[in-house]
């Protein structure tokens, strides 16, 4: 026992009081526990999503090649396998694809076994759904989605005949089926190693090697790149034949993406905690205000301010002890289902520990002020406490018994009483509306994201920006023509008859004729085939205005065999160098009679990001004055692709008419934006579902807060309502008053949601557009907002209805006794 009289040696008693208090207020407990559980689960989901994504990427990259080397001989494969730097080597071949009914089929084969696999290393192979990988010469493995699209029975043992690009027709036995996404434009057909060596489609193709390096995970990005390139150079490979796995590269330290992601996660976490603070604060505030008399009594019988504070804090912690485990379980489960492939117990425990700590701090912060209010209650004031802040104010004058009395006489109706009810404690009302509003604003951001993302525009990349249909030379025909696409341009030009036939289709608004040719180029010791487009004097002037290196005059380009290169990120990545003004490029092409060659000087390099204005810009690497290009190609028709813009209501009929027209042009193929959209939609649907999931959490928070405010408001004023009823307020009037109170809060929330949400949404979209999301356009999410508004308005109405019915269970007399 303490020797000092003033000492408080009664921590346990205060704790017991807190436990009693917790037990006595079930409704408040439900709200605090729910708020804590929601906040914990939201943080858990976020934390687990982040770590899960990392783990899943790590797990995937653990089973992925670090780099692919192309153009290898069998000897080189063995040399690579024997090299000490490599830890895993798998041989692979990929042959010439063929287009069958709009789907590309790519013949592919892996070595039967890896050439090297240290410490059980492996790479992800296609996921087998049925049967087995092909082992015999005549066996293949097909994608389930392809079988479905092509109407092939997806059972092993099935006989499939494929006509390849070179005209070879071969029949195979399906040994297995692997899983693939639907609506893809390309599917692999897997062959056995035996076929890779001797089969018609692969025997003349060079080998590729999927390689993993020792200790690559411990390197930074620069070290890893150096390792991959120097390894390839050691075996005489060119830079373009080395393909780094960027997915793995980004995982390594030394990049900016990781920092951005971490900052984003920390920001979102801080936002959630802030909303949690508001909600828990609000719940405790209402709970404390409703018990001011109780605190006054406790102070009167001898509890010190400190002890009252401790008691309120203990209540918070006891309730957190209920909410935290629930939140951990819910958040953990949700985290698992969102990223099952990224589940890791260690990460889950670490994330849980951080979340528990963050939420305890949140709870303690949230109840600091309410605890202070509780402890500041004096026993005398407690009796008079009504939670009403407002002092009397000026009003109208009436005369009474020869004296002047000034008083305020407001209109008294259920509506005005409701207004007085919510304004009795403006700080509390403002706080409630604010915390509801924050939930609403976050929800609106998610809604704006969804409504402002134009999937069509996202799909309208490249030439789809200008039209809904593309007519181009058929891939199969181009690949089989001796001189490639140019041969088709000479033999089967997309002439005026064709464009006129397309223009005459009802619903076709415009036909863009894209002119370009494919040519072989050599420069910097490398070479490949890329596109060359004609440049007009007018366009050349416009190009001078965009970001470019090297000044040029159109006349010089014409006279001195000058050429302009569009500079993108891929030059550096693929070749390890970039063109600069003054560089020499040797072009070779087929002019309709024979192969020609000519040297050009790079006069300017333009930025590819700005070179995306007219049809045909995307994918054009070199620009040559049109007079020069026409002379080089002996005046041939350079039409390479037709972009067809249609009346939006007539897309279907135009597609039908175009398909019929194309039957007369077997060397042409038709692509539709609608097919491309399917691919895009399937990609975005998962992104949107994550947003909608997050929004539901946020709405859950806002709802919890609204419910708590409404119910606590009603419960703590039971006695007041009984007073009103005793002097003549009918149940209908009471219900109207309470409904109005709820609706005032809901309207405040909706106003904040609408105004701030719209401003924030607009800002978000502008920022995203600035960073390149040009497919986003500010579009008010009408249905999302209306849905939210109906929900937010309906809740007070239903809650009031329920609470007023609940009152009826008790007699007015009992409620008056309080």
């Amino acid at each position: 026992m303490s020797g000092r009289i003033s000492a408080n040696n009664n921590r346990l008693s205060v704790y017991r009081l807190a436990v009693r208090s917790v037990k006595s207020s079930r409704m408040r407990n439900v709200f605090v526990v729910l708020a804590v559980a929601l906040s914990v689960s939201l943080l858990m989901v976020m934390g687990l999503f982040y770590t899960g994504t990392y783990t899943s990427t790590r797990r995937q990259t653990d089973r992925m090649q670090h780099a692919i080397y192309y153009g290898l001989s069998e000897e080189q494969l063995y040399e690579i396998a024997e090299d000490e730097a490599s830890s895993y080597v798998l041989a692979m071949k990929q042959g010439q694809s063929v287009e069958i009914d709009g789907k590309m089929l790519a013949p592919t084969a892996y070595g039967q076994k890896p050439l090297k696999a240290e410490d059980g290393e492996s790479v992800i192979m296609p996921e087998l759904v049925k049967g087995s990988f092909p082992e015999d010469f005549g066996e293949i493995m097909l994608a389930d989605a392809y079988c479905k699209a092509a109407g092939i029975s997806d059972s092993p043992g099935e006989q499939v005949t494929i006509t390849w690009l070179d005209g070879t027709v071969e029949s195979y036995t399906v040994s297995g089926i692997y899983r693939a996404e639907e609506n893809q434009s390309m599917y692999q057909v897997y062959f056995s190693e035996a076929y890779a060596k001797e089969g018609s489609q692969l025997k003349d193709i060079a080998w590729q090697a999927l390689v993993r390096f020792k200790d690559a995970s411990n390197m930074n990005q620069q070290e890893f790149e150096d390792t991959v390139y120097s390894f390839g150079e050691e075996y005489g490979m060119q830079r373009k034949d080395m393909n780094i796995n960027n997915y793995f590269l980004r995982m390594l330290p030394g990049g900016t993406e990781q920092l951005q992601e971490t900052l984003l996660i920390l920001g979102a976490g801080a936002g959630i905690l802030f909303v949690s603070v508001l909600v828990i604060y609000s719940v405790f505030y209402l709970s404390v205000v409703g018990r001011v008399r109780q605190f006054g009594q406790l102070r009167a019988i001898g509890l010190t301010k400190k002890q009252i504070k401790r008691m309120v804090r203990a209540e918070g912690l006891i309730l957190s002890a209920g909410g935290i485990p629930a939140g951990l379980i819910i958040g953990g489960a949700a985290g698992y289902f969102i990223r099952p492939d990224g589940w890791s117990w260690i990460h889950t425990i670490l994330v849980s520990a951080v979340v528990i700590l963050a939420d305890i701090v949140t709870v303690l912060l949230s109840i600091r002020k309410p605890a202070k209010i509780a402890s500041a209650v004096s026993p005398v004031e407690a009796v008079r406490y009504s939670g009403y802040e407002q002092k009397g104010s000026r009003g109208r004058r009436i005369r009474g018994k020869g004296r002047n009395h000034t008083f305020r006489a407001r209109k008294i109706t259920p509506g005005s009483l409701a207004l007085m009810g919510v304004s009795r404690n403006r700080k509390k009302t403002a706080l409630t509306v604010l915390s509801l509003g924050i939930g609403g604003v976050l929800y609106m951001l998610a809604a704006f994201w969804v409504s402002s993302t134009s999937l069509e525009e996202y799909a309208r990349t490249g030439e789809y920006k200008f039209g809904e249909f593309l007519v181009s030379y058929s891939y199969n025909v181009v690949q089989t023509a001796e001189h490639g696409e140019m041969q088709l341009q000479v033999e089967h030009p997309m002439d005026e008859d064709l464009t006129e036939a397309i223009r005459s289709i009802d619903g076709v608004e415009k036909v863009y004729d894209i002119q370009k040719v494919e040519m072989q180029w050599e420069g910097h010791g490398d070479g490949s085939t890329d596109t060359v487009a004609p440049l007009t004097g007018e366009r050349a002037e416009k190009l001078m205005e965009i970001d470019h290196q090297g000044d040029f005059a159109y006349e010089d380009l014409e006279k001195e065999d000058g050429l302009i290169v569009s500079r993108g990120g891929t030059w550096k990545e693929v070749y390890g160098w970039e063109f600069a003004p003054g560089d020499q490029i040797r072009l070779s092409w087929y002019d309709g009679r024979q192969e020609q060659e000519r040297s050009f000087t790079v006069m300017s390099v333009i930025d590819v990001d700005d070179f995306d204005v007219e049809p045909g810009d995307v994918g054009t690497e070199f620009l040559i004055p049109e007079s020069v290009l026409h002379e080089m190609t002996r005046g041939m028709d350079l039409s390479d692709e037709l972009v067809i813009r249609t009346d939006s209501g007539k897309e279907d009929s135009v597609e039908k008419a175009l398909s019929e027209l194309m039957e007369n042009y077997p060397y042409l193929s038709l692509d539709a934006l609608s097919d491309h959209m399917l691919e895009v939609e399937s990609m975005w649907s998962s992104v949107f579902s994550i947003f909608i999931g997050l929004s539901l959490f946020i709405i859950g928070f806002a709802m919890l807060n609204l419910l708590n405010t409404l119910i606590t408001n009603i419960l703590t004023r039971d006695h007041e309502f009984a007073m009103l009823q005793s002097v003549g307020m009918t149940k209908g009037q009471l219900a109207r008053m309470l409904r109005m109170e709820g609706l005032i809060l809901a309207c405040g929330n909706l106003l904040i949601t609408l105004v701030i949400g719209t401003v924030a949404g607009y800002a978000m979209i502008e920022i995203l557009r600035y960073f390149g999301a040009e497919y986003m356009h500010f579009a008010f999410p009408v249905w999302f907002f209306l849905g939210y508004a109906v929900f937010i308005v309906l809740v007070p109405v239903l809650v009031t209805e329920y609470m007023v019915r609940r009152f009826q269970r008790q007699t007015l007399v009992n409620r008056l006794r309080g």
């Binding site: 009504s386 009395h405 006489a409 008294i412 005793s726 003549g728 149940k731 007399v813």
Partner: protein, 226 residues
Amino acid sequence: MSIVVAENLKKYYGEEPNIVRALDGVSLTVEEGEFVAVVGTSGSGKSTLLNMLGGLDVPTSGDVIIAGKKLSGMDDDHLTIFRRRRIGFVFQNYNLVPILNVYENMILSVALDGQKPDERYMKNVIGLLGLGDRLNEMPNNLSGGQQQRVAIARALAAQPALLLCDEPTGNLDSKTSQDVLGLIRASSSQFGQTIIMITHNEEIAQTADRIIRIEDGRITESRWTV
């Protein structure tokens, strides 16, 4: 003319064998303009009787007829409307609405009826109760005596036929009690109202026209004072 008639009122709580008979067959008639004091020990059933007469509680059996209207036949809303028009309540703990100022509290029942208060009448009441300079105050800024005066003004505002007072001076000192009591009497005689008042105070009871004593839920005495 009888303004209040109670016929064989019973109010039972719980079930046999633990039944509590708060009122056990009370019959009572009060004439217009009469001032009746109800006395009895704590738990005798005084407040229960008052609540039954005011329609705040429902009897287990028996009838209450106020100004010729049977309360038991009315639904909840009709009863509330009848109460706010014909019955004024003064509670021991004042029961003022904290969000309304003094004047708004006074005219509450009239306003809830969708009516405008009779300003002349209200001026009289305010003057009589001495609340002229307090009309703008909020209830929590008033003393107990002042709050009770506001409660009396509120009870009088609708010019009810019957004023039911449940120990209106129970929380007040003796001087203020005398003042409040005087005000209730004065207003009732001025406005011709009937008063039924519960009190513990024999001295106050003696000022009534009639004293009714209740014990164990039954009327044990009903006598006229001199």
